[in-house]
Every structure is written in C-alpha cells, then in structure tokens.
C-alpha cells in the first residue's frame, strides 16, 4: 500500500512534468514582454515600445507602492518577462525581491542583466540621501535616498533613455522604431515641461504641506517649498501632538495648500485644512492614479493643473 502511494505520487509528478514540457514547447510571442513594478514605468515603456512590446505593471497607480501584496501570480508574470523595470532605492523592498527570486528567470534576476532595470540608477540627482548615520527611530528612512524621483518629470527623460537603450539591446530588429518613439516622447515631454514650468513660475517659493516625503522631487522641480509633513516621521501615521504643532506652524506661516497622494488616508489632512483654512488636494501620484491618467504626461497635466488652479484661486481670493 505504501509503495503504491509513492508510485501514485510519482505518476502525478510525471504528469505535471509532461504538461510543463507541452506548454514550454509553445513558441513565444514576438513582442518583448516587459513587467514593471509601478505603472509610471509601464506607461513610458509603452510609449517607446508601442505595439512591439507587451507591458504589465504589478502595482496599480492608486496603490501605495511601499505596500504591495506579493501575489504568487506576479511570479508567473515575472517568469515570462524579458525585462523588469522597477524603481529601486528600497521602494519595493517589502515585496519585489521574493518575487524576483521566485521567478527563476535569469533574464531579469541579476542586477547586471540587460533585462533588469533599476530605474534609480538613471537618476543623477537623488535627494534626501542620508549624510549622517541613520536608524529606524527616524521612521522608515530609505538609506539610498528618497525613492519618489519620478515625480520630477525631468527624471522621466533619463528613465526613458535607459528603457529605449535596453529595448534596443533586447530587440535590435526594432531599434529604429524604438529610437523614433523615444525621440518623439522626449520631445513632447520636454515641450510639456516648459509649459508646466511656465504655469508654476508665478508660485515660486510658495509653502506647501505634504502627507509623506513623497513630493520632495516634485516640489524641488516646481520651485515650491515643503513646509512640513503630516506624518511626523516617514511611514509613521499622524499623531495628535504633531498635528497640533503643524496647525500652529501653518497658521503662523500662512501655508495655504496641503497635498497628499490619493492612496493616503484623508481624514487628518482634511481636519488640518479645515482648521487652517488651507486647501487640501488629494492627488494622483502615479500613472493610473485616477481614471483618465494613462500616460506620464497626463499625470503631470493633472498634478500641475490642480495645484496651479488651486493656488490661483487661493491667492487671487486673498488679494
């Protein structure tokens, strides 16, 4: 009886092995299969790759990218990927590494592989890099620096370049196609950056309160100043004493705008807004963060548009 059971299980094992062989025997599609951790990279890869690539983002645009469930189906997706694009700087540390290990795909697993693209490598100016020893009493500090660099559209250019360069290596047959798409994307983005900068110019130096240290790059580019965060420390939810202190400071310095990514809780921010008379904007922070935002340019159209129109109203109202 025991032997029969062993045999049975062996037979089961073999059946699945055979199924595997049959399925692996299928010819792979001609498209380059790109999997990205967050949708910003998927949007840019789609601009460059067009119909020659198939792009999937693991996280959704309306989701906190720090806390994504490592669903086993993601392993299946990474297993079939030709290229992985992720943010880096520990943004995905809680969920991506185990998926990469489980993917058993050497095209994407080693950091030196052409199909393994850590986007933070392309960013020249990483902000909030700790210059003194850190520990976790300071909250969830990212030792490599602030990971939210895609909220500076200029970084989108460098990232697009790396994606294009890698795509050309992976799929040299379509090199000209990728290069052309890349150039038209960057031209469009650059023209847009000029427009956004003009729109933001009148508000240079305006103080803004944010929820998390998510907007550091955005504020740096937009010429706005961070007047404080609702989180007392990165990743630590608001506390009553910190909130009270923030309200005092906002009243003293006449801070009129609070911004937060729309996946963060809105309660505290709304209370602070009510008590200080400031406006609170719950903004999309990634492509797909709201219906209708499907490209990297649309993301900044929304963010810059909402901020400038709110600031216009606020300051015209005052004067």
């Amino acid at each position: 009886m025991k032997h029969r059971l062993l045999l049975k299980n062996f037979a089961l094992c073999m059946t699945f092995t055979l199924i595997s062989i049959v399925f692996t025997g299928q010819s792979a599609p001609a498209q380059v299969n790109i999997v990205t951790s967050v949708p910003d990279y998927a949007a840019i890869a789609k601009e460059i790759g067009g119909d020659r690539v198939e792009v999937t983002s693991l996280a959704k645009g309306y989701q906190d990218p720090h806390f994504v469930d490592a669903k086993p189906i993601f392993i299946t997706r990474l297993n079939r990927a030709d290229m992985l694009i992720y943010n880096g700087l520990s943004l995905e540390i809680g969920w991506l590494p185990i998926l990469i290990t489980g993917a058993r795909n050497s095209e994407i697993s080693s950091p030196s592989a052409i199909g393994h693209y850590n986007a933070s490598v392309s960013v020249k100016n990483v902000l909030d890099v700790p210059t003194a020893p850190i520990d976790r009493s300071m909250g969830d500090i990212h030792p490599g620096g602030n990971p939210h660099f895609m909220l500076d559209p200029r970084n989108g250019i460098a990232v697009a370049r790396s994606i294009a360069a890698r795509l050309i290596r992976i799929d040299p047959e379509n090199a000209a196609f990728y290069e052309e798409n890349f150039k038209s994307f960057v031209s469009a983005l650059k023209l847009k950056i000029n427009t956004w900068e003009t729109e933001l110019a009148p508000f240079k130096g305006t103080e803004v309160v944010t929820y998390h240290m998510l907007w550091t790059y955005f504020l740096d580019w937009a010429g706005l100043k961070n007047a404080g965060t609702i989180e007392p420390k990165p990743g630590i939810p608001p506390s009553p004493s910190h909130t009270a202190e923030l309200i005092r400071a906002m009243k003293r310095d006449n801070v009129r705008l609070i911004i937060a990514a729309n996946y963060y809780p809105r309660k505290t921010a709304s209370i602070i807004a009510r008590k200080t008379g400031a406006e609170f904007l719950s903004l999309p922070a990634m492509v797909g963060g709201r219906d209708g935002i499907d490209t990297y340019i649309e993301l900044f159209d929304a963010i810059v548009g909402e901020i400038t129109s709110t600031l216009n109203n606020t300051y015209n109202g005052v004067n």
């Binding site: 595997s20 692996t24 370049r161 960057v186």
Partner: protein, 458 residues
C-alpha cells in the same frame, strides 16, 4: 530648384513658339508682343514668389531641426550608453550598502502569559511555556546572494530549549529546464501554508492545533526540493521534496532509523493561486508527506493536507484594510505495531485588518482521532513522536499512543503594529479537551525586528 527653372523655360518656350509663328502672319504683331511681355512679366513674378516660398519653407525646416536639436541634446538621446553610473551621489551609506555582507536580521518574540492551571497544556515548543514572561523565539537571519547561481537563506532559532538551525538552504537563481527551481539544505517543507510561515509572521500567539499536533513546531528536514512552475494562465507550482527527517516531529521519526531511500521523508505540494478580482486573491493547495514514524522498523506515516487562503483587499477604496481567511485540514494515517492510527485536525482563522497598524482575528482549531489508543503496559511500540503526553481528569499525566480524544481551541486576538518593525498582540485561548479540564490562557506578545527589511510573502 534647377529642375523647376527648366520646367518653366519649357512652358515659356511652348507658349512662345506658336506666338512667333503667328507674328509672321498676323498684323497684330504689336499686340501679341505686348501680351507676351505681360505674360513673361507674370511668369517672372510667379517664379519669384515660388523661390520666396521655397526659401521660407527651407528656413522653417531649419528652424524646426534646430529646435529639435536643442530639445534632444546629445547625451540624453545617446542610446548606445545604457546609463551613466551616478558616482557623485555615493555617500558613505551607499558604499556600505554595496558591500558583500549578507542581510542580517534579528527578531525577538516574547510573551507574557497567564494560564488557568499551574501545569498548562502546551502544544508547540514556540507557544508560551508557562504563566510568566516567556521567550518564544529569537530568530537570527542571514540572507544573501552567493554567486550568479545561488542564494542562501539561513535562520537560527533560539528558544527556551536551546538553539536550532531552523533553515539554511540554497536556492537556484538561474533558469532551469521546465521552469524549475531547486532548493537544497534545511528548510521548512512546503506542506500546507502554516509550515512555511516563520513564527514572527504568524497571525496568532500560539500555533494552530493541527500544525502543532502533526508537524511539531515545523517540518524542516534537511533535503532537496524541486519546484516546478507549471505554465498555465494562473499560478500553479508543484513541489517535490526528498530528505532526511533529522528533526523531531510527532509524525515522522528522526534520521537515525531512516537509513535507506525507502525510509526517507518525501513531501509533495501543489499550490494554486487565482486572482479572482483585483481585490480578491485565493490560493488553494494540497500536500502529501510520507516517511517512517519510528514505532517499528518499517512503520510509515502518511500525512495529507489541504490548505486554503483568501485575501480581500479593496485597494481603490480602503487601501489599508484587508480580510484574510486561512484554513488547513490535515489527516494522518500512521501504521504502528499496535494497529493503524487515524488522526485528523483542521483550523480556520479570519483576520481583519481594520486600520493600517491594527488587526483583529479569530481562530478555531480542532484535532481529533478515529482511533483513540491508550498506552498499556507491555505495549510493543518503540518510543516515537506519535506518543502524546496528556493529563487526564484527575490531573495524572500519562503517555498515550496517538490521540486520546477531541481537543478544540478558540482564540480571539488583537494586534497593534507600531511600525513595520515592532508588534504588540493580545490573545485569549480557550482550550477544551473532552478528557481533561478546560484551560484558559491570556497572552500579551511583543515582538521586535532589527536589521534588514523583511519580505512579506503573500
């Protein structure tokens, strides 16, 4: 441009030549001449206009090109370089991060406990041992990539009964045929779900009854395991493990007696994951483990398991809320010289995370037997894990083979995670055994994690 000039000359000639012939015959020579003059003049102005337009067009083109070139400067659009390494931003921390040290983590789990009886009935070694403050486990982890081919994950566990090498296994990182991945070393076997989850990642203070009863604290043989990712549209992984059962478990014997291939431990697992919707994920698995149980030279234990896990997390509306249902059923069929033992058990737990840092849950666990066997004098059975120490109604302890009767436990809990790296949990356990006194217990568990940021398996 030259072409156009030729073209116009041609037209002019065509127009002019009939005019000249006419001149010979008509008297309107002067009129024609006049007309011709006018025509030529018109042509000239037209030509001029065309030239002007062409020039304008060229200028526009040039301008556009110049603009394009200022938009796309050389370095930015040079697609031959993949990326320029950003050396200037490497602070001292960056350098420290880039060294080859493994990721080190230390996790301490302690529990203040109160039991309603002085000699409490405890099922797993990691459960709080007694009324008082207990060390449940101190886990030290070293993890890292060895070379392009392997990574190593090592976990040492220190508890009240000494140290144990909980896990130390290498995992292949390279692509193998059939989408397979090999793990080799000592590891928590893929039997069901709870057996793969480290103590610090579990949702309750105590281990579920069937896991404690059938797997011991955990089933972690030194072994070789092959995992196949079957290429179907959902996630389907098939695992097969063979190894020495060199750790004490209630179901399988230690390796001293397992000295040939037939006496080794084999574990098979089939894991499925279905993404029912974006918010709802369901995993469903089946397990089978077989090995000798030590009650006699060739007596075997066969352990069957079914595991279910469902997680509902409505990302779009309430991103930090989730509901998790986890349930496992285990069935043990063990041969002994005194006859066949058939024991079974299951547990189900529901955990509701109602805020980013808070969750609460409820668990029901039961173990029972179809073959209650009491130990009698002269029992011809070698001592093995299948014996259970029980205390009967009079408070007298005795060892029995298999299970004595039905045991169930109800455990509600509340957890607060101040951050991702610390945890406070209170839990109440009500234990009911149909052959002994009921037992109540209250726990306050505190847990700290130091070092590398751990991964969160689904």
């Amino acid at each position: 441009m030259r072409c156009r000039r030729i073209f116009f000359t041609l037209i002019i000639t065509l127009f002019i030549s009939p005019a000249i012939t006419q001149q010979a015959f008509g008297d309107e020579y002067n009129d024609v001449k006049q007309e011709l003059k006018e025509l030529r003049k018109m042509m000239e102005t037209m030509q001029k206009k065309i030239d002007e337009l062409e020039e304008k067009n060229r200028n526009l083109e040039m301008q556009a090109k110049e603009k394009d070139e200022t938009i796309l400067d050389g370095e930015e659009t040079d697609l031959t370089v993949i990326e320029t390494p950003a050396t200037e931003r490497q602070g001292f921390l960056q350098k420290a991060l880039n060294t080859f040290n493994p990721e080190i983590s230390v996790i301490g789990i302690f529990a203040a406990a109160w039991y309603s009886q002085d000699n409490p009935i405890v099922f797993a070694e990691v459960d709080p041992e007694n009324t008082g403050v207990n060390l449940q486990e101190l886990e030290i982890g070293f993890q890292g990539v060895i070379d392009p081919y392997f990574r190593l994950d090592t976990f040492l566990s220190f508890g009240v009964r000494g140290a144990e090498l909980e896990e130390a296994y290498g995992t292949t990182l390279f692509s193998l045929p059939l989408n397979s991945q090999i793990r080799a070393g000592r590891m928590r076997a893929k039997f069901g779900r709870i057996n793969q989850i480290h103590t610090h990642a579990q949702n309750f203070v105590t281990l579920p009854l069937p896991a404690a009863q059938f797997l011991g604290e955990h089933l972690n043989p030194t072994s070789i395991e092959a995992n196949f990712l079957v290429p179907v549209p959902w996630y389907l992984e098939l695992s097969a493990l063979g190894g020495s059962p060199d750790v004490a478990t209630p179901t399988f014997d230690r390796s001293e007696n397992a000295n040939n291939l037939g006496r080794l431990l084999y574990v098979f697992h089939l894991a499925n994951f279905f993404e029912v919707s974006e918010a709802l994920g369901v995993s469903l698995g089946g397990s089978f483990a077989t090995g000798v149980n030590g009650t006699g030279p060739d007596e075997r234990s066969n352990l069957y398991g079914i595991d279910l896990f469902a997680k509902y997390r409505p990302l779009e509306n309430k991103p930090y809320q989730e509901v998790m249902l986890q349930s496992e059923f285990m069935y043990l069929d063990a041969d002994t010289p005194e006859g066949n033992l058939e024991n079974w058990g299951w547990y189900a737990q529901l955990v509701y995370r109602f805020a980013k840092r808070w969750n609460t849950g409820f668990r029901y666990g039961i173990i029972d037997t179809n073959t209650p066997v009491r130990k009698e004098d002269g029992l011809n059975v070698e001592p093995s894990g299948l014996f259970t120490l029980i205390r009967n109604g009079d408070g007298k302890e005795e060892e029995i083979l298999g299970l004595f009767g039905r045991t169930y436990r109800i455990s509600p809990m509340l957890t607060f995670n101040p951050s991702e790296f610390s945890r406070l949990r209170i839990e109440y356990d009500y234990l009911n055994q149909d052959f002994a006194q009921n037992q109540h217990a209250i726990f306050l568990q505190f847990q700290y994690s130091l070092g590398a940021h751990g991964a969160h398996p689904y």
